[in-house]
């Protein structure tokens, strides 16, 4: 029997994933825009800018997820 057949995903978890994806995309776009602004062609955001920005955004996302978890735990404890 397939063990994943009855697997259920909490809607809260699925919503969090949507939020993180969005947060990551916003962070990449924002950082890439800043990188482009400092480049020789400030009016064009390139794949290279997105690559650099994505690496930085991964770290930001990780911090945001940890912070979110910590504040959630604090609320539960209170």
């Amino acid at each position: 029997m397939n063990e994943t057949a009855h697997l259920r995903i909490d809607i809260e978890a699925a919503r969090a994933l949507v939020s993180w994806k969005s947060l990551f995309a916003d962070e990449v776009a924002s950082r890439a825009r800043r990188l482009a602004a400092a480049s020789s062609d400030p009016a064009r955001v390139t794949l290279s800018h997105y690559r650099q920005a994505a690496q930085l955004a991964v770290h930001s996302l990780s911090v945001a997820i940890l912070d979110e978890g910590a504040s959630r735990d604090e609320r539960k404890a209170a």
């Binding site: 009855h6 259920r8 809607i11 699925a14 919503r15 949507v18 939020s19 994806k21 969005s22 995309a25 916003d26 776009a29 825009r33 064009r44 955001v45």
Partner: protein, 160 residues
């Protein structure tokens, strides 16, 4: 004959990029759409069929359009236009499309319009409205003639 490739025309270059406003809109739309798909999906039974999931997705698309400030009727028109134009875009308004619209209106009057035809009719109406309101179809020649006449009067001092 040179072996060098000619530079890409500016218009082609433009086609390969989007504005930051469009980029932001896409990201916001996708986030909202995903949340709406989740909301629509969680109301489905655990063993929902593919068609039930597809219907939930269609509801999520409409909900997202509504949340982006679009009237329900406009959202239907937009979907209808995309369906009529499928798979390309910018369909020119023709006699055939006009006749199809009249046929659908007849069916609407008779109360025999299917949901798919209802959306098709909305799309055809939108394309027709865009055609009628486009600059090429406005009565510009009369306005230009009047403008020329007024300029002529002004230059000959007859306007007072």
């Amino acid at each position: 004959m040179t072996s060098e490739k000619p530079p890409k025309p500016e218009s082609a270059k433009c086609d390969e990029s989007i504005s930051d406003v469009e980029d932001l809109w896409v990201r916001q739309f996708l986030k909202q759409f995903e949340l709406n798909v989740l909301d629509a999906t969680r109301r489905l039974p655990p063993n929902a069929s593919a068609s039930e999931s597809q219907l939930a997705t269609a509801r999520a698309i409409l909900a997202t359009y509504r949340e982006s400030g679009m009237e329900f009727e406009s959202a239907l028109e937009l979907l209808g236009q995309a369906a009529v134009e499928w798979p390309s875009a910018d369909v020119a308004w023709t006699d055939a499309l006009n006749q199809r619209r009249f046929a659908l209106i007849d069916k609407e009057v008779q109360g025999s319009l299917t949901p798919a035809e209802n959306i098709e009719l909305a799309g055809l109406t939108r394309i027709m409205r865009e055609h009628v309101e486009s600059e090429a179809n406005l009565p510009m020649e009369g306005a230009r003639a009047l403008h020329r006449m007024l300029l002529q009067l002004e230059s000959t001092g007859e306007s007072d």
